[in-house]
Symmetry: C2
Subunit: 204 residues, 2 copies
């Protein structure tokens, strides 16, 4: 029998309609983010931050910056998923427990730190990595929600500069996506049709 | 009992050691990509392409462009996951079956098409969306592999310009990540330690 995750991936839809009376506890929100951060990041940088807008006030402010999309405030919580431009000085801390546990030699951790400094020296490369990490975290959060029997709706349409300002993001942070999570209400679309495999896959 | 996807997310590791004798069939590779494309994209753009390097020749060429990382050629297949800058003229085709099935009004599809033209007019916004879509596809492919009892290793370290040239990417395509997929060999690291939740989650 196929692993249940196969079916979960197949059945997931992007929800627009949420039950506005449904709430999530801080513990449930924490569990979603704990799972999201199991996603991989380059060099284990974990260059992300998750802001959970769950009060009516925070959701209303966020909705205004997302062109009024109703799901932002109707879902139990809407996450602002932020990517951070990689900072090589943070890496020693991120790898220390792994080095101390004897898995990674200290020399290797030092080489990784140098590599991060070189690889992300260009602003474009740094920004790309912020987006990559945040998107990997967003996808994992979305599947974690699905596994907890919650609906989710990912959004790219919002005023990123205004969100950064309004929610106090640091200079090295970019809001990459919003993810509404809650209980689905009736009226959601089925999954949208996908392109045929022959258009998107090339085997070399 | 928690959904098995929770455990799958928790247990996944980034593999470096693969069984070099293991092969995947074209059907298995197709199934992985079919699942990857169930990931969401903005406006259902599906602005991605998956190149599966599975022959020794393709894997060897790719490995050279990925700083010699052994897993590129030792894994059964290494995917080059490409993002495409959004092109509003493609959207009518992507939405047509959904409109014809009566889910989406034709007017709305036309508005979406206009929005795509406006939203991605700036090259930076277009590139960001290419990276977002490819990363969402990459994450989904990674969890699909895990569900099929395969190990995976995501890579951001490669010469993107050289990969684009060597593998004939179109002008609107960027190679966003490589993903090695195959059977794990002994010697892989455990999951790397994660930052405490208090550092990465803010509830507002």
């Amino acid at each position: 029998m196929p692993h249940p995750t196969i079916h979960l991936i197949e059945r997931r839809v992007s929800a627009n309609q949420f039950d506005a009376s449904h709430r999530l506890t801080d513990t449930e929100i924490g569990e979603l983010v704990r799972l999201a951060t199991r996603a991989p990041t380059a060099y284990n940088l974990q260059n992300w931050r998750f802001i959970a807008a769950r009060t009516q006030n925070a959701k209303t402010r966020l909705r205004q910056l997302a062109y009024g999309q109703a799901k932002v405030s109707e879902a139990a919580v809407t996450f602002i998923i932020c990517g951070q431009t990689p900072d090589h000085t943070t890496l020693a801390d991120r790898l220390r427990p792994f080095v101390e546990a004897g898995h990674m030699p200290q020399d290797m951790a030092s080489v990784w730190q140098e590599n991060v400094g070189v690889q992300y020296a260009e602003p474009r490369a740094a920004r790309d990595e912020a987006i990559r990490s945040a998107a990997l975290g967003a996808a994992t959060l979305m599947y974690a929600a699905e596994a907890m029997n919650l609906a989710s709706g990912l959004m790219g349409g919002f005023d990123a500069d205004a969100v950064a300002r309004e929610f106090g993001l640091a200079r090295n942070e970019t809001p990459v996506m919003l993810l509404a999570v809650g209980r689905a209400a009736p009226g959601n679309w089925p999954q949208k049709p996908r392109r045929p495999l022959s258009e998107v896959l090339q085997i070399s």
